[in-house]
Protein backbone atom coordinates (compact mmCIF):
# COMPACT_ATOMS: atom_id res chain seq x y z
CA UNK A 1 0.00 0.00 0.00
CA UNK A 2 2.96 2.38 -0.44
CA UNK A 3 1.09 4.25 -3.16
CA UNK A 4 -2.01 5.04 -1.08
CA UNK A 5 -2.91 8.76 -1.45
CA UNK A 6 -6.25 9.37 0.31
CA UNK A 7 -5.95 13.19 0.60
CA UNK A 8 -4.85 14.03 -2.95
CA UNK A 9 -7.19 11.43 -4.42
CA UNK A 10 -10.17 12.88 -2.54
CA UNK A 11 -9.15 16.40 -3.59
CA UNK A 12 -8.88 15.29 -7.22
CA UNK A 13 -12.24 13.55 -6.89
CA UNK A 14 -13.84 16.77 -5.64
CA UNK A 15 -12.46 18.59 -8.72
CA UNK A 16 -13.93 15.87 -10.96
CA UNK A 17 -17.28 16.42 -9.23
CA UNK A 18 -16.94 20.19 -9.71
CA UNK A 19 -16.31 19.60 -13.43
CA UNK A 20 -19.49 17.51 -13.71
CA UNK A 21 -21.49 20.23 -11.91
CA UNK A 22 -20.00 22.98 -14.12
CA UNK A 23 -21.02 21.12 -17.28
CA UNK A 24 -24.51 20.41 -15.93
CA UNK A 25 -25.17 23.99 -14.78
CA UNK A 26 -23.48 25.49 -17.82
CA UNK A 27 -24.85 23.51 -20.75
CA UNK A 28 -27.18 21.00 -19.09
CA UNK A 29 -25.27 17.93 -20.16
CA UNK A 30 -23.96 14.89 -18.30
CA UNK A 31 -20.16 14.73 -18.16
CA UNK A 32 -19.46 11.42 -19.87
CA UNK A 33 -16.07 11.23 -21.54
CA UNK A 34 -16.98 8.36 -23.86
CA UNK A 35 -20.08 10.31 -24.94
CA UNK A 36 -18.10 13.52 -25.48
CA UNK A 37 -15.36 11.83 -27.52
CA UNK A 38 -17.79 9.53 -29.32
CA UNK A 39 -19.88 12.59 -30.17
CA UNK A 40 -16.86 14.41 -31.61
CA UNK A 41 -15.92 11.34 -33.70
CA UNK A 42 -19.52 10.97 -34.90
CA UNK A 43 -19.61 14.67 -35.88
CA UNK A 44 -16.43 14.19 -37.89
CA UNK A 45 -18.05 11.22 -39.64
CA UNK A 46 -21.01 13.37 -40.71
CA UNK A 47 -23.28 12.98 -37.68
CA UNK A 48 -25.00 15.71 -35.61
CA UNK A 49 -22.87 18.77 -35.00
CA UNK A 50 -24.88 20.88 -32.54
CA UNK A 51 -22.90 19.78 -29.46
CA UNK A 52 -19.53 19.86 -31.18
CA UNK A 53 -18.48 23.23 -29.74
CA UNK A 54 -18.55 22.55 -26.01
CA UNK A 55 -17.37 18.97 -26.55
CA UNK A 56 -14.28 20.10 -28.47
CA UNK A 57 -13.63 22.82 -25.87
CA UNK A 58 -13.89 20.20 -23.10
CA UNK A 59 -11.31 18.05 -24.89
CA UNK A 60 -8.96 21.03 -25.23
CA UNK A 61 -9.29 21.69 -21.48
CA UNK A 62 -8.73 18.00 -20.67
CA UNK A 63 -5.53 17.95 -22.73
CA UNK A 64 -4.28 21.28 -21.35
CA UNK A 65 -4.90 20.33 -17.70
CA UNK A 66 -1.94 17.94 -17.20
CA UNK A 67 0.48 20.52 -18.67
CA UNK A 68 -1.00 23.24 -16.46
CA UNK A 69 -1.04 21.18 -13.25
CA UNK A 70 2.46 19.82 -13.87
CA UNK A 71 3.78 23.33 -14.50
CA UNK A 72 2.12 24.91 -11.47
CA UNK A 73 2.27 21.99 -9.06
CA UNK A 74 5.39 20.23 -10.26
CA UNK A 75 3.64 16.86 -10.33
CA UNK A 76 5.76 14.18 -11.98
CA UNK A 77 4.11 12.51 -14.98
CA UNK A 78 3.00 8.94 -14.28
CA UNK A 79 4.60 5.93 -15.94
CA UNK A 80 2.71 4.74 -19.03
CA UNK A 81 1.26 1.26 -19.29
CA UNK A 82 3.95 -1.39 -19.81
CA UNK A 83 1.53 -3.69 -21.66
CA UNK A 84 2.60 -5.00 -25.10
CA UNK A 85 1.17 -3.20 -28.16
CA UNK A 86 -1.24 -6.05 -28.98
CA UNK A 87 -2.74 -5.92 -25.49
CA UNK A 88 -3.02 -2.11 -25.69
CA UNK A 89 -4.85 -2.42 -29.02
CA UNK A 90 -7.21 -5.12 -27.72
CA UNK A 91 -7.91 -3.09 -24.57
CA UNK A 92 -8.50 0.10 -26.57
CA UNK A 93 -10.97 -1.64 -28.90
CA UNK A 94 -12.84 -3.14 -25.92
CA UNK A 95 -12.99 0.18 -24.06
CA UNK A 96 -14.06 2.12 -27.16
CA UNK A 97 -16.72 -0.33 -28.33
CA UNK A 98 -17.90 -1.20 -24.81
CA UNK A 99 -18.35 2.37 -23.57
CA UNK A 100 -20.39 3.31 -26.66
CA UNK A 101 -22.52 0.15 -26.46
CA UNK A 102 -23.04 0.57 -22.70
CA UNK A 103 -23.57 4.33 -23.10
CA UNK A 104 -21.02 5.36 -20.53
CA UNK A 105 -17.71 4.91 -18.76
CA UNK A 106 -16.22 5.72 -15.36
CA UNK A 107 -17.24 9.39 -15.56
CA UNK A 108 -20.73 9.14 -17.07
CA UNK A 109 -21.93 6.04 -15.22
CA UNK A 110 -19.44 5.90 -12.34
CA UNK A 111 -19.59 9.54 -11.20
CA UNK A 112 -22.60 11.29 -12.77
CA UNK A 113 -24.87 8.25 -12.95
CA UNK A 114 -24.25 7.18 -9.37
CA UNK A 115 -24.73 10.81 -8.23
CA UNK A 116 -28.14 10.74 -9.95
CA UNK A 117 -28.87 7.31 -8.41
CA UNK A 118 -29.58 5.97 -11.90
CA UNK A 119 -30.38 2.26 -11.89
CA UNK A 120 -28.68 1.77 -15.28
CA UNK A 121 -25.50 3.39 -13.96
CA UNK A 122 -25.51 1.35 -10.75
CA UNK A 123 -25.74 -1.84 -12.84
CA UNK A 124 -23.14 -0.68 -15.39
CA UNK A 125 -20.66 0.49 -12.73
CA UNK A 126 -21.00 -2.72 -10.71
CA UNK A 127 -20.45 -4.78 -13.85
CA UNK A 128 -17.44 -2.93 -15.24
CA UNK A 129 -15.79 -2.71 -11.82
CA UNK A 130 -16.31 -6.42 -11.14
CA UNK A 131 -15.14 -7.40 -14.63
CA UNK A 132 -12.02 -5.23 -14.39
CA UNK A 133 -11.18 -6.70 -10.94
CA UNK A 134 -11.65 -10.23 -12.36
CA UNK A 135 -9.42 -9.46 -15.38
CA UNK A 136 -6.66 -8.06 -13.15
CA UNK A 137 -6.94 -11.10 -10.87
CA UNK A 138 -6.61 -13.47 -13.82
CA UNK A 139 -3.75 -11.64 -15.55
CA UNK A 140 -1.74 -11.02 -12.36
CA UNK A 141 -2.48 -13.97 -10.11
CA UNK A 142 -3.69 -16.84 -12.34
CA UNK A 143 -1.61 -16.31 -15.48
CA UNK A 144 1.07 -14.54 -13.43
CA UNK A 145 1.79 -12.04 -16.17
Amino acid sequence: MDGFTPASSAMGGALIGAAAVALWLGVGRIMGISGIVGGILASMAGGEKHDLGWRAAFLVGLLAAPILVDTVGGIVEPAPSDAPALVLIAAGLLVGFGTRLGAGCTSGHGVCGLARASKRSVVATSLFMTTAVAVVFITRHVLGA
Binding site: A22, L41, G53, L63, V111, T131
Partner: protein, 140 residues
Protein backbone atom coordinates in the same frame (compact mmCIF):
# COMPACT_ATOMS: atom_id res chain seq x y z
CA UNK B 1 -19.27 31.35 -27.06
CA UNK B 2 -20.36 30.84 -23.47
CA UNK B 3 -20.87 27.12 -24.02
CA UNK B 4 -17.28 26.89 -25.27
CA UNK B 5 -16.07 28.51 -22.06
CA UNK B 6 -18.16 26.10 -19.98
CA UNK B 7 -16.71 23.14 -21.89
CA UNK B 8 -13.15 24.41 -21.51
CA UNK B 9 -13.57 25.09 -17.78
CA UNK B 10 -15.14 21.66 -17.16
CA UNK B 11 -12.39 19.95 -19.16
CA UNK B 12 -9.68 21.77 -17.20
CA UNK B 13 -11.31 20.92 -13.84
CA UNK B 14 -11.78 17.28 -14.85
CA UNK B 15 -8.24 16.94 -16.17
CA UNK B 16 -6.77 18.62 -13.09
CA UNK B 17 -8.79 16.21 -10.95
CA UNK B 18 -7.36 13.24 -12.84
CA UNK B 19 -3.78 14.46 -12.39
CA UNK B 20 -4.10 15.47 -8.72
CA UNK B 21 -5.97 12.27 -7.79
CA UNK B 22 -3.29 10.19 -9.53
CA UNK B 23 -5.92 8.46 -11.69
CA UNK B 24 -4.16 9.65 -14.86
CA UNK B 25 -1.61 6.86 -14.23
CA UNK B 26 -2.71 3.34 -15.27
CA UNK B 27 -0.52 1.68 -12.62
CA UNK B 28 -2.49 3.42 -9.85
CA UNK B 29 -5.81 2.34 -11.36
CA UNK B 30 -4.59 -1.27 -11.68
CA UNK B 31 -3.37 -1.15 -8.06
CA UNK B 32 -6.99 -0.38 -7.04
CA UNK B 33 -8.39 -3.17 -9.21
CA UNK B 34 -5.82 -5.66 -7.85
CA UNK B 35 -7.63 -6.54 -4.63
CA UNK B 36 -5.59 -9.73 -4.16
CA UNK B 37 -2.27 -7.92 -4.53
CA UNK B 38 -0.77 -4.79 -2.97
CA UNK B 39 -4.17 -3.08 -2.87
CA UNK B 40 -4.30 0.72 -3.20
CA UNK B 41 -7.80 2.01 -2.29
CA UNK B 42 -7.13 5.54 -3.64
CA UNK B 43 -9.65 5.23 -6.51
CA UNK B 44 -12.41 4.65 -3.96
CA UNK B 45 -11.49 7.99 -2.35
CA UNK B 46 -11.78 9.69 -5.75
CA UNK B 47 -15.28 8.28 -6.21
CA UNK B 48 -16.24 8.97 -2.59
CA UNK B 49 -15.42 12.66 -3.11
CA UNK B 50 -16.61 13.08 -6.70
CA UNK B 51 -20.06 11.50 -6.27
CA UNK B 52 -21.37 13.62 -3.35
CA UNK B 53 -20.01 16.85 -4.89
CA UNK B 54 -21.80 15.96 -8.16
CA UNK B 55 -24.99 14.91 -6.35
CA UNK B 56 -25.05 18.18 -4.39
CA UNK B 57 -24.53 20.22 -7.55
CA UNK B 58 -27.31 18.35 -9.38
CA UNK B 59 -29.61 18.89 -6.38
CA UNK B 60 -28.92 22.64 -6.29
CA UNK B 61 -29.43 22.81 -10.07
CA UNK B 62 -33.05 21.67 -9.60
CA UNK B 63 -33.83 25.21 -8.38
CA UNK B 64 -33.17 26.42 -11.89
CA UNK B 65 -35.42 25.93 -14.92
CA UNK B 66 -32.50 25.24 -17.21
CA UNK B 67 -28.75 25.55 -17.68
CA UNK B 68 -27.00 28.90 -18.26
CA UNK B 69 -26.66 28.03 -21.95
CA UNK B 70 -29.02 25.76 -23.82
CA UNK B 71 -32.77 25.39 -23.33
CA UNK B 72 -32.99 22.57 -20.80
CA UNK B 73 -31.16 20.05 -18.63
CA UNK B 74 -30.70 16.94 -20.78
CA UNK B 75 -30.73 14.05 -18.32
CA UNK B 76 -30.55 10.57 -19.87
CA UNK B 77 -34.08 9.36 -20.54
CA UNK B 78 -33.49 5.62 -20.70
CA UNK B 79 -34.25 3.73 -17.49
CA UNK B 80 -34.34 0.08 -18.62
CA UNK B 81 -31.37 -2.18 -17.94
CA UNK B 82 -30.97 -3.87 -21.31
CA UNK B 83 -28.56 -6.27 -23.00
CA UNK B 84 -26.58 -3.45 -24.61
CA UNK B 85 -25.89 -1.82 -21.25
CA UNK B 86 -24.80 -5.13 -19.72
CA UNK B 87 -22.63 -6.29 -22.63
CA UNK B 88 -21.14 -2.82 -23.04
CA UNK B 89 -20.19 -2.64 -19.35
CA UNK B 90 -18.64 -6.14 -19.49
CA UNK B 91 -16.55 -5.29 -22.58
CA UNK B 92 -15.46 -1.95 -21.12
CA UNK B 93 -14.53 -3.59 -17.80
CA UNK B 94 -12.44 -6.21 -19.59
CA UNK B 95 -10.50 -3.57 -21.53
CA UNK B 96 -10.10 -1.37 -18.46
CA UNK B 97 -8.73 -4.28 -16.43
CA UNK B 98 -6.26 -5.26 -19.16
CA UNK B 99 -4.25 -2.03 -19.03
CA UNK B 100 -5.83 0.36 -16.51
CA UNK B 101 -6.90 3.08 -18.98
CA UNK B 102 -10.45 4.37 -19.10
CA UNK B 103 -11.34 7.07 -21.67
CA UNK B 104 -10.73 10.25 -19.60
CA UNK B 105 -7.30 9.46 -18.16
CA UNK B 106 -6.10 7.94 -21.46
CA UNK B 107 -7.02 11.12 -23.37
CA UNK B 108 -5.53 13.46 -20.77
CA UNK B 109 -2.30 11.42 -20.71
CA UNK B 110 -1.86 11.86 -24.48
CA UNK B 111 0.02 15.11 -23.81
CA UNK B 112 2.80 13.17 -22.09
CA UNK B 113 3.62 11.75 -25.53
CA UNK B 114 3.99 8.16 -24.30
CA UNK B 115 3.55 5.72 -27.19
CA UNK B 116 1.50 3.22 -25.12
CA UNK B 117 -1.17 5.87 -24.47
CA UNK B 118 -1.35 6.84 -28.14
CA UNK B 119 -1.71 3.21 -29.27
CA UNK B 120 -4.51 2.70 -26.74
CA UNK B 121 -6.37 5.91 -27.69
CA UNK B 122 -6.22 5.22 -31.43
CA UNK B 123 -7.61 1.71 -30.82
CA UNK B 124 -10.29 3.20 -28.52
CA UNK B 125 -11.36 5.67 -31.22
CA UNK B 126 -11.54 2.80 -33.74
CA UNK B 127 -13.69 0.83 -31.27
CA UNK B 128 -16.05 3.78 -30.80
CA UNK B 129 -16.43 4.41 -34.52
CA UNK B 130 -16.87 0.67 -35.15
CA UNK B 131 -19.75 0.60 -32.67
CA UNK B 132 -21.45 3.71 -34.06
CA UNK B 133 -21.03 2.50 -37.64
CA UNK B 134 -22.50 -0.93 -36.86
CA UNK B 135 -25.47 0.60 -35.02
CA UNK B 136 -26.13 3.05 -37.89
CA UNK B 137 -26.18 0.13 -40.31
CA UNK B 138 -28.58 -1.85 -38.09
CA UNK B 139 -30.90 1.12 -37.66
CA UNK B 140 -30.74 2.04 -41.35
Amino acid sequence: MASLFVGLAAGLLFGAGLVISGMIGPAKVLAFLDIAGDWDPSLAFVMAAAIPVTALGFKLARRRDGPLRGDRFSAPTRTAVDGKLILGALLFGAGWGLVGYCPGPALAALVYGQSATWIFVVAMAVGMVAHDFSSWRRNG
